[in-house]
């Protein structure tokens, strides 16, 4: 008759449990490592392929026809800046005012409704905004235009700006508001002269993040801004944009254009990353400064 050795079983399972506990760390780390490798691969290819086509001419010349060497994306860079300015003019006032209203005036239920709507709006595919801008702008005006592209991008900025503005306005200590009110200022003066200036840095960061997100958007521009191989002369004309140009060059069959696409991609990604890094550093510092949210 053998007896069951509980100690032995316990020791065995314990070893197995501890071994598994040690191993799983490497498995989990591997998951992160794969992603870091992907990031490295994308960035290194961008640099390797893009640098050779990146020169001064790239920034000051128009695209050349196939076969002619040289040429650049000057019009696309200016076009993207134009589109982003239009988007800011359209999206920032709506987002900013909504964010302030949500924190300063709105009752709980209305605020929750708007918060929910903006969060859902954030998830609407960008190409749907393109269709919307096409239907309300391009169809009545009978032409693709910079204006319609700006509307599509501006719409996409609204939810981001609303939520970040609300959060940063909420960070302003209530004592500041009370001090203003105690001095006899009406509430709107308190908001304009005290709340807004003290949260301006954060609000700007939110706007920058939203800008970085729409700067690389291609889908909503396909049938609004449409692209243009020459300079645009007014905002009611088709306009070139960096992401559009990258797209059309990438799917073209010409090696020379492929190189230009990589160069354009480098320019685009440097802009997007710079804005992102700057704003995340700012948010980190702000959170430390104010002791979290």
């Amino acid at each position: 008759m053998s007896t069951v050795n509980f100690d032995l079983i316990f020791e065995r399972t314990k070893t197995r449990r501890y071994l598994w506990d040690k191993l799983i760390v490497y498995v989990l780390f591997l998951c992160s490592a794969i992603l870091l490798f992907m990031l490295f691969s994308i960035l290194s290819h961008l640099v390797v392929h893009g640098i050779s086509a990146l020169n001064v001419g790239f920034f000051i010349h128009l695209p050349k026809p196939v076969g002619e060497p040289g040429g650049g994306m000057a019009n696309a860079i200016v076009g993207t800046l134009t589109l982003l300015s239009l988007a800011v003019m359209f999206g920032v006032p709506i987002g900013l005012a909504s964010g302030i209203y949500l924190n300063e005036y709105a009752n709980y239920r209305f605020a929750q409704l708007i918060r929910f709507t903006t969060d859902v709006m954030n998830g609407i595919p960008s190409i749907v905004f393109g269709i919307f801008a096409y239907v309300i702008c391009v169809v009545p005006m009978k032409t693709f235009s910079a204006f319609s592209g700006g509307i599509a991008l501006g719409l996409m900025m609204i939810p981001m700006i609303t939520r970040t503005t609300e959060q940063f306005v909420r960070m302003v200590p209530n004592q500041l508001r009370e001090a203003g009110l105690a001095l006899g200022a009406p509430k709107w003066r308190v908001i304009v002269d005290i709340v807004l200036p003290s949260s301006l840095g954060g609000i700007m960061t939110g706007i920058m993040v939203a800008l970085a997100r729409v700067a690389g958007e291609t889908a909503p521009l396909l049938f609004t801004a449409f692209g243009n191989r020459f300079w645009h002369h007014n905002l009611m004309q088709p306009i070139a944009a960096l992401p559009l140009q990258i797209f059309s060059y990438a799917i073209s069959p010409y090696d020379d254009w492929h190189r230009q696409a990589w160069a354009g991609a480098i320019v685009l990604i440097i802009v997007v990353f710079a804005i992102n890094l700057f704003s995340s550093l700012f948010v980190a510092r702000r959170n430390k400064f104010l002791g979290g949210r």
Binding site: L39, Y101, N122, I158, P186, F247
Partner: protein, 310 residues
Amino acid sequence: MRNDTSDIFFKYFLALFPCLILLLVGGILYQLLSSSSLAIHKFGFKFFASRTWDPVIDEFGALPFIFGTCLTSFLALLIAVPIGVGSAIYLAEYAPSSVSKAISMLIDLLAAIPSVIYGLWGIFVLVPLMRNNVQPFLGKYLGFLPFFQGPNYGVGVLSASIILAIIIVPFIISISREVIMTVPKVYKEASYALGATRWETIQKVILAHAKVGIFGAIILALGRAIGETMAVTMIIGNNPNMTFSLFSPGYTLASVIANEFSEATSEMYLSALIEIGLVLFIVSIVVNILARLLIWTVTSGESLALKTGV
């Protein structure tokens, strides 16, 4: 507090803007509906069941695109969920704080890369790799499965799904990490006190507590995958066929709009494409409402927008 006229005026002036947001979302729905009414009336529900997509005879059915969107999104989740949740656990529970911060920052960069650049990388790096190495390998060793048969172009459903997975994984990670961090410390300490190892604590305490939020993150990522346009359009091959071979070119709802919208010549053609846009809009709204409700139950209404960029 004084309540003079200027104050009341300011309040109602500001109130116009959030109402405008509601109007805009309603307006998008209304415009999509009215612009696609031609196709809705002509095809009805047959639009979702028909495989014919023929601009010449004005016959349109969206089934191949729905199939393509479902297939690529499903595959992308299949790849992205284990990697994403695994990374989130590593970053929230295992990695030293400085390492975790650095990796999170890099993964945020991954989320910031515009999708057209993913497409560019896909065309010139991923597709050749798939054509010359990965797909022949899969065909050789797993070729008995229907998924890994057929001609090997490099562009196709599998490549598109991999790109999609890379695009959505940062969303899964950043939200899951936030959700995991909301698990109260005392729960973990109680579990350690009972003699559980770290991994057992993660499985039985942390994941049990955070699973609703993580599920929300996954649904949100699904919404992204369904709506993602440019990278998929550049990689998937744009061919409306319906096979289970992952090597074959496919087509998705978003990419058919991107490809054909500006060359749609007839009213009916345009209307059918806008109806596809309407489908995308409604699906993404439903998916997002579901995901937000799940995430909100965990984070109690606090937006993660600034922390996670979504």
